[in-house]
Point group: C2
Chain length 233, copies 2
Amino acid sequence: MFDVIAFDADDTLWHNEPLYRGAQQQVLDILAHYHARDWIERRMYETEVRNLEHYGYGIKGFTLSMIETAIELTEGRISGAEVGRIIELTREMFKAPVELLDGVEETITTLAASHDLMLITKGDLFEQHAKIARSGLADHFSRVEIVPVKIRETYQSITAKHKINPERFLMIGNSIRSDILPVIEIGGRAIHIPYETTWEHEVVPEEELAGREFVRLAHIRELLTLIDQYRSR
Amino acid sequence: MFDVIAFDADDTLWHNEPLYRGAQQQVLDILAHYHARDWIERRMYETEVRNLEHYGYGIKGFTLSMIETAIELTEGRISGAEVGRIIELTREMFKAPVELLDGVEETITTLAASHDLMLITKGDLFEQHAKIARSGLADHFSRVEIVPVKIRETYQSITAKHKINPERFLMIGNSIRSDILPVIEIGGRAIHIPYETTWEHEVVPEEELAGREFVRLAHIRELLTLIDQYRSR
């Protein structure tokens, strides 16, 4: 049924978003005596999204966006020492262990025995390489693609490069915007496994999903059964 | 003679290092009232190299390292507004035009008509993609590899992946450490074209070059003649 089964990484195979939200909450603590938390949080999000165009995804861009917001909001009154604490906080993100989601290790190990698996993740090259290495899963994937964005053209170019027929390509991920919709657009199949939280920027309004055909699973443990069903059709 | 000719990008095809050094000089101006320039410059270099392990190469890591150094050196006395100016300066680096080195456009265009060309560059995925797109050269390269570091294993994995015989692989670049030595180690050929300045971290002591066989050209314009000589052997 499928020649290649591809997985997203962050929040599909291992926990990621809580690391960012945890760091952000601590930065909000540092800035709490300047402004209301909600307002700072909103401004941080705006800065982050505006900077995506230049910075792309990842910890470094996130850190720079937080520092930039902090300086703007305080009209430069934030102290060097406070900026130093922000850098210190986000530096810990680099050292954070890679924690696999429940069920991932067994599912990937089992699936790799019968299928050609690929990893497709967007983000910072350096950070993603380090996480893949630390995940212990690298050997199960025959190909790893780290891409700057996940849009229709990304999947078109990956399937073309590896000579994969999109109809025999399955993508699995937690982000409807990045892992599901663009894959359906090129004629591929997609399975959505929502994560406990979704970064606001990745959220797709329900009305945009009308007519889009994809399966949603509550847990990666359900994946093997579903793929078996596809095969026996 | 060669199945694939690969080029480095930064400071081989387009100017890059002066952008970093220019920004650094402006940051030194901002910090000049705290410490002696030479001393700050030395500390910045140390921070940058120490952080490479986490940040990798690129503008974002460079910016964070400069901010970190500034905070350390001033023991946190640097103002938020001054940090903001550092961010502003480095943000301009993202918008800087990609300026090709003299002779690059003609050489690459001519060579692409007769050879399979590849681009191998280390650095930030997002930044390198943007520069390649803006360079106007993308169509001349059949393959582009953006890698976190350029060591022996990098070239081994690239030649294996694309089924290239290392003996029929030629790499051209400005960095002896990243473009020349590891390629020679895997049995490939390399041509060194020094750039006007080399980042200290990329410099290789002359004694390490003993017995390493590679050609050094003063200018990329000399490349076509050299490759013709190889072919007619």
